[in-house]
Each structure stands twice: as structure tokens, then as C-alpha cells.
């Protein structure tokens, strides 16, 4: 058993871009091994929330905890508390991120994409990094593409490499920011397949997604966000079959 209650949690998270308030008081606690899908209309702040978690966006106010330890506390754009640089780096590395637009490094081959951060950040030897990279690339089913540049891959294959690249850092939490939204419909399945596999292996996952089927099948908990607020959350069964919030009802009507 883990010696912490929540692997990741946020308290009273606020984020504004100038006068625009994107996140308003987001409270969410994630247990180890939990798969949470965040759904909601566009502009709800779902992506911003994920990006705030791993510091791609600076939050305006709120607290972020990793393994129950305070990672960051800010109030009104001022940092009140922040973990020590070393601890901070280690905590950030607990999170792997997969982007909507893959963001693979185009000048590196598939293998190099999956190796580079292991060598630079985890300070592994090339041999060790390559060994793990080849293992993980095999898990996402792209062993025959090791020396290929990303431009020669389909969108689905690129996203699988991106997942492999994040996994190679051996994170405990995976953040997925609409991983299938920029894919052709026939390529969505292969990426979701890899994600389901990960969920089965017990990876803690936070997915912003529009794939309701995936959310229903895989998620332990579904969170509905709109206008920067969490309006409803619950098991997929509760949320999809008996939504109570009016906005959630309307949203689900329009997508299902």
C-alpha cells in the first residue's frame, strides 16, 4: 500500500488569463491507480487544468499536492510556497503528458524521441535508455518504426510514440490532453487501445477527452467541467445515465 492518500490533488485552483477566468475553484483528488476522464464543452478549462498541473501554465491561486506533499501554493499570482528545486523536478517527473498535437521532436527518430529525455533528464546511459525505449515502443506496437522520423508516421502512430515517450520517463501519473482529437476517426481506436492497456496495468490517468465510449468503459470516475467549474462528478454509470446538472444533461445530449 502506498503511504499517501492521494497521488495528486488540487485545492481551490484558480487560473485567469488577464480578465478571463478560466478555472474557478477546482478541487480534485486522485487516488493511485485511478482513471479519471474529464469531459465538458470546449472552453470549459479542461486542458488548462491539466496544463496547470504540470506547470505549463502558472496558476493564479490554489494549492497543488503530489503524494499529499504541497508542491505549489499561490495566491493572487504570488507564490506562497514552492517545493525545493530538486523535489520540484522529481515531482514534475511523476507526471507524463500527452498532447493533442503529439508534439514529437521532428528531427529525432522514434527511438531518439523516446530516449532523449531519459538520457538528458534521468541521466541514464544510452544503452539503458535504448533498452527501455525499445521495450516501451514494443508495448505501443511500433517496433518496426524505431529508426523512422515522425513525419513518416500516421497521426495514430505519432500519438503512440508520444505516449511511449512520456512512459519512458516512468511517471506515476499520465496526463492526456485530448489525445485523439486531432486524429482521423479510423486512427482513434489504436490510440485508445494503448490507453486502455495502460489503465489495465494500473496506471493513474487523467484524461481530457471527447471519447465518451472510452470514458464509460475505462474511467473509474468522470468529471464534468463547464465554464471553469467542476459541475458534476461520479462513476461513469451515474454521470452518463443519471446526470443531475442541467449543463451536463444538455452536453451529454449533444454528444451521445
Amino acid at each position: 500500500m502506498s503511504d499517501y492518500q492521494h497521488i495528486l490533488s488540487t485545492e481551490h485552483l484558480y487560473k485567469s488569463f488577464g480578465p478571463l477566468e478560466v478555472l474557478k475553484d477546482i478541487n480534485l483528488a486522485v487516488k493511485k491507480g485511478e482513471v479519471i476522464c474529464i469531459i465538458g464543452p470546449s472552453g470549459a478549462g479542461k486542458s488548462t487544468y491539466l496544463r496547470s498541473l504540470n506547470q505549463l501554465e502558472k496558476i493564479t491561486s490554489g494549492k497543488i499536492f503530489i503524494k499529499d506533499e504541497l508542491f505549489l501554493h499561490r495566491e493572487h499570482n504570488r507564490t506562497i510556497h514552492r517545493a525545493e528545486p530538486e523535489a520540484q523536478k522529481a515531482m514534475l517527473l511523476e507526471m507524463g503528458m500527452v498532447f493533442q498535437r503529439f508534439n514529437l521532436f521532428p528531427h529525432k527518430t522514434v527511438l531518439e524521441n523516446v530516449m532523449i529525455a531519459q538520457v538528458l533528464v534521468r541521466k541514464k546511459t544510452k544503452e539503458a535508455a535504448q533498452k527501455l525505449a525499445e521495450e516501451i515502443i514494443e508495448r505501443v506496437g511500433l517496433s518496426d518504426k524505431l529508426d523512422v522520423y515522425p513525419s513518416k508516421l500516421s497521426g495514430g502512430q505519432q500519438q503512440r510514440v508520444a505516449i511511449a515517450r512520456a512512459l519512458a520517463m516512468e511517471p506515476e501519473i499520465m496526463l492526456f490532453d485530448e489525445p485523439t482529437s486531432s486524429l482521423d476517426p479510423e486512427l482513434v481506436g489504436e490510440v485508445l487501445g494503448v490507453m486502455k492497456g495502460l489503465a489495465k496495468q494500473g496506471m493513474t490517468m487523467l484524461c481530457v477527452t471527447h471519447e465518451m465510449g472510452f470514458a464509460r468503459e475505462v474511467a473509474d470516475r468522470v468529471v464534468f467541467m463547464a465554464d471553469g467549474l467542476i459541475l458534476e462528478e461520479g462513476t461513469p454509470k451515474d454521470l452518463f445515465d443519471h446526470p443531475t446538472n442541467e449543463k451536463a444533461i444538455n452536453f451529454l445530449k449533444s454528444v451521445l
Binding site: F105, I116, M169
Partner: protein, 346 residues
């Protein structure tokens, strides 16, 4: 397959590569052949008229030298002239090509002779290193190399989040792009030694007859490098900023530091985008080198102007233009190759 193996595996070369290789080899063979059978200086002397030979004989016994012998060997073609000054001056010239000697005092021979002579002078053959084409190539290559390295730091400085560094970099770029290169060179050549109490030539030993030119070259090199850095910095900055922000985010999400991200992700991708504008900058600078006339150095343009003034031959600009075109063509070819090599992943 390794690059070397590919190179050796001639059978599998592309057809176009084979054609290029044949043309290049044939040209080289022809040049080699023509150089081998080119007319020697002695042959030219033998060809001279009796009156010239008489003067050469006279000079052996007298201390007075009146005959000027010019021998310009460009490899495949050579040119010789015999001139004396004063009344009844002798002017005789010859062009040697493919083992034969032709008179070059009138008509097509005269034109060919002049072209050989002018080209020879502009190439700076036989002169010191800081003369003609050699000066142009040396100054542009060195100052572009130094400027390019400096420009990376200036560009990173300009986009830095540190306000002081950013402002200093911007001010540097603003100053060097906003003032004429000629005045920048004057400041470095005249004002800097004036203020700090030294002279550029004193950087070299007093006995060095070329100290003046070497000193001027150092001053020009500094001015050109500082100037190139400012122009290249804008190219580098634009290229860096043109890289998709998603690349930065992916690198950050993987825990890379700013330096690691720039070094391994952003700059390598941006280099390919810098190549065309950098080539442009390089080509412009080759021509800007002519400004060094103002600090006593002689580049291609300056030499052609000097010949024009002293000999009044407006055809002198033909070889000058051709030399520039050849340099630019070679440079464009090289940069094109680099760009292609850097594009393999696209």
C-alpha cells in the same frame, strides 16, 4: 549504409550524380591538361621581339633597369607584357594558351590579354594574403563565422526573460543595424586606437612590411563580425521563435531544462530555417567587403576601380563581375547542400 559506403558504391549512384561526376572529372582533366601544356615564362621571353631581347641583354651589364616584365600565369592561360617608359616606349604583350603564344597588342588577343591580366590582379595571385579575392573570402568567412556564433547568444539574449539581458541584446542589435557599417569600421580603425592610445599596425612586429595591412584587416574583421552578429541575431531569433511552441511544452513536460531544450530541441530544428537568410546575408557581405578600400585594403572592387582609373579600360569590370558571380554561385551551392542535408527528417 554508411556515408562512405554509399560514396564508394558508384554503381548505385543516381543518374544525375553520375552526370555531374563525369562533367566535373572531365573539366578537371581538361584544366590539368591545359595547365600542363601552358606556355612557360621562358617561352614567352623567347617570343619577345629583338628590341626587347636587346634591352634584356643591355640590362645584364648595366645597373639601370628600364624594362618591366609582367608574367601572369592563371594555369590554363598566361599573359606576358614587356614595357619601357619614356620616349620610344616599347609595349609588347603576349597571351599563351594550350602551348601556343598569341600576340596581345591588338584585337581579340589584346582583349584576352587584358582579361587575363585583370583577373590575375583581382585574384591577388602572388600578392599577400590580404589582397583581392583572398581578402574578400577571408574577411567574409571569418566574420560570418564569428558573427554567427555571437548571434546565437544575442538572439537568446533578446528573447530572454531577464529584462536587463534582453534590453542589452536589443540595444546592441539596434545600434549595429541602425548605423552604417562604414562608420562602424572607421570607429574601430581610427577612434578606438585614438582613445586607447595604440595603433593597429603596432599589433604586429615593427619589421613586418605588411603590418599596416594586417592591422587594418584586424580592425575590419572586428567591425564586420560585430555587424554580422547583429544581422544574424535577428535571423536566429526569428528562426527560434518560428518553432512550434508545442516543442517547448513537450520538452518541459519531459523535465528538460531551458538549456537542454534549446540545445537539443529548438536550435537544431531552427538551424534549417536559418540557412536561406544566412546565405543571403553571406552573399551581401561579400559585396560589402568593398568598404575596406577606406582603410587601405584592396578587395576585388577596389582593384577594379584602381585599374579603371590608371588604365582607363572600362572592360575591367567584366572579370570583376564574373569573379563575384562565381563566388556567389559556389556559396549558394554549398548552402543549398547544407539545407538539403538538414531537411532529411521532413
Amino acid at each position: 549504409m554508411s556515408r562512405f559506403k554509399k560514396l564508394v558504391d558508384i554503381k548505385n549512384w543516381k543518374r544525375s550524380s553520375k552526370t555531374v561526376a563525369i562533367v566535373v572529372l572531365a573539366t578537371l582533366a581538361l584544366v590539368f591538361l591545359l595547365s600542363a601544356i601552358n606556355v612557360s615564362k621562358q617561352d614567352m621571353l623567347d617570343q619577345a621581339s629583338d628590341s626587347v631581347k636587346q634591352i634584356i641583354e643591355d640590362e645584364k651589364t648595366s645597373s639601370r633597369k628600364s624594362l618591366t616584365i609582367t608574367y601572369n600565369n592563371l594555369g590554363v592561360v598566361s599573359y606576358t607584357s614587356f614595357t619601357t617608359s619614356g620616349a620610344n616606349a616599347i609595349r609588347e604583350s603576349y597571351v599563351g594558351f594550350a602551348g601556343s603564344i598569341y600576340g596581345a597588342d591588338e584585337g581579340a588577343g589584346k582583349f584576352a590579354g587584358q582579361m587575363v591580366n585583370y583577373t590575375y590582379r583581382m585574384l591577388g595571385t602572388g600578392e599577400n594574403l590580404l589582397h583581392g579575392v583572398k581578402l574578400t573570402l577571408l574577411l567574409t568567412t571569418l566574420s560570418m563565422a564569428i558573427g554567427a556564433v555571437m548571434s546565437v547568444f544575442l538572439a537568446l539574449g533578446k528573447i530572454s526573460e531577464n529584462k536587463l539581458i534582453s534590453r542589452l541584446s536589443s540595444a546592441y542589435i539596434f545600434f549595429f543595424r541602425g548605423t552604417p557599417l562604414l562608420i562602424q569600421m572607421f570607429v574601430i580603425y581610427f577612434s578606438v586606437p585614438g582613445i586607447f592610445g595604440f595603433s593597429w599596425r603596432s599589433l604586429f612586429s615593427a619589421g613586418d612590411p605588411e603590418a599596416v595591412y594586417k592591422g587594418a584587416f584586424i580592425a575590419a574583421l572586428i567591425a564586420f563580425s560585430l555587424n554580422a552578429a547583429a544581422y544574424c541575431a535577428e535571423i536566429v531569433r526569428a528562426a527560434i521563435q518560428s518553432i512550434d511552441k508545442g516543442q517547448n511544452e513537450a520538452a518541459k513536460a519531459l523535465g528538460m531544462s531551458y538549456g537542454q531544450m534549446m540545445r537539443t530541441i529548438v536550435i537544431p530544428q531552427s538551424i534549417r530555417r536559418m540557412i536561406p537568410p544566412l546565405c543571403n546575408e553571406f552573399v551581401m557581405m561579400i559585396k560589402d567587403v568593398s568598404l575596406v578600400f577606406a582603410i587601405s585594403l584592396m578587395d576585388i572592387t577596389t582593384i577594379s576601380k584602381t585599374i579603371m582609373t590608371s588604365e582607363g579600360n572600362y572592360l575591367v569590370f567584366v572579370p570583376a563581375l564574373l569573379i563575384y558571380l562565381v563566388i556567389t554561385a559556389i556559396l549558394t551551392f554549398i548552402f543549398g547542400k547544407i539545407e538539403k542535408r538538414l531537411s532529411i527528417y521532413e
